[in-house]
Amino acid sequence: MSDVVVLGVGMHPWGKWGRNFVEYGVVAIQHALLDAGLEWRQVQFVSGAVTVRNGYPGYVAGATFAEALGWTGARVASSYAACASGATALEVARAEILAGRCDVALVVGADTTPKGFLAPTKGERPDDPDWLRFRLLGATNPTYFALYARRRMALYGDSERAFAQVRAKNARHGVANPNARYQREFSVEEILASPMVADPLRLLEICATSDGAAAVVLASAEFARARDGRPIRVRAVSTVTPCFPQTVIEMPNFATDSATGAVAGAVTPFKDAIAAAAYEEAGIGPEDLSLAEVYDLSSAMELDWYEHIGLCKPGEASRLLLDGDTALGGRIPVNPSGGLACFGEAVPAQALAQVCEVVWQLRGVATGRQVEGAQVGLTANQGLFGHGSSVILSR
């Protein structure tokens, strides 16, 4: 398969201002185009990651941004895959290039989020499991994160202190990241002293909801060859879905599938399958990674990801953390950007923000948080309702 490369990346910093999401997205796009050395008119395809909290313009994100920059006749697409929307939008753009339908595609995601728990859209919708879980269980997103965290403690003996250490590590990483919303250190004691939200997870261990935007300019390798500079290669994009039966409880569901049903043979757990598909496409394994950006919706969930992306065996993640392997300067730094801990989540932008960080790391320009000599990076994330997201990039 011929290569698709990243020519440019850009972000609007993460924060909480409540302004129009289009404004954030346009800033990210302008940064990405400048970074790529391209003009808006050279973009042939616009792939938008959808936001569901900003009315109609959010549902047609691709068109919204094409119009905001000035209609040029470029084709557009808009993708929604919850937290994985950015990766799905990236996959759509990549497929257009691989199909030979365009040479330059722009991918963008931007969001404005309300304060507090992410809640379902309003109205009485008793057929929508995302609505019902709030009504019947009072189950918020942190409920599910906390179930996984408590399970780790029972199964592997992980401690609340180890979870807080994940957060403290990411806080250190994010201090030097100009796009991060929280650029300050937190001590383990401060984290453990923050209010309990969903036992055993505390306020400082659960990701906030943020405003922000990220954009990526993709191009065919052929187009890139005619230009100066050294583009970053897109080695794999995994947007796999689960295999039945799904035997781990997943947001927003009330129950798992039956583990004793009719389907013969064990299936790969979903979160393992997300990265496995990316490794398979790239033809590499976890031992080849220089760094990873994973979805730390909670402190404990970062540890889950170490295992799902194959950095260690199940149960060994907290050891990896406590040995310093996943901190900057360690064997395999995880979330050198500071992760969701320092950004908070801007849903349609977040998977693209992960890609931006890996690109900066591979270029060697991640000032103050650089993984020395980074060659290969992986992103991993999951969107509710069964959306996988993992991207592998290399120099």
Partner: protein, 144 residues
């Protein structure tokens, strides 16, 4: 005045002496589902579209648990001032399912542990002027 008692959701559980969750079983492949499936069996190798209702095991073991220290946003309906309530994911061995539920009134996370046996009960979820809405909950089984 006595309030009317009614399930907060139709057909997901019984409210008899021995309350139980109601799932269903695909007549073609035998797979059990909760909540019930109604359109097509979700086993990808099965085209079954007929199902029989099945009462699920009333007892299971705690897979994991947590609580809600902050009041959840709507459509959650608060019962007065917020008091933390626990939520458990419970493994039903016979069906191979893990099912979420709030934990019975009066029990918190300090009363729970992974692997402990719990039993299904039906309690008030919330109420309005003339109706009490009921929900299933998991209650620790103290005596075997």
């Amino acid at each position: 005045m006595t309030k009317t008692l009614t399930p907060a959701v139709d057909g997901w559980f019984t409210v008899d002496e021995q309350p139980a969750l109601i799932g269903n079983r695909c007549i073609s492949c035998g797979t059990v589902f909760f909540p019930r499936v109604s359109i097509l069996c979700r086993n990808p190798d099965c085209n079954g579209a007929e199902f029989s209702d099945q009462r699920l095991s009333r007892r299971g073991t705690v897979w994991s648990y947590t609580d809600a220290q902050y009041e959840p946003p709507p459509p959650y309906v608060p019962r007065g001032e917020h008091r933390p309530f626990a939520i458990a994911a419970v493994e039903l061995a016979a069906e191979g399912l893990v099912v979420l539920g709030q934990v019975a009134d009066g029990f918190g996370v300090s009363d729970l542990s992974v692997g402990m046996v719990v039993e299904l009960v039906v309690e008030e979820l919330f109420s309005d002027e003339d109706t009490t809405y009921l929900i299933w909950r998991w209650r620790p089984v103290t005596a075997p």
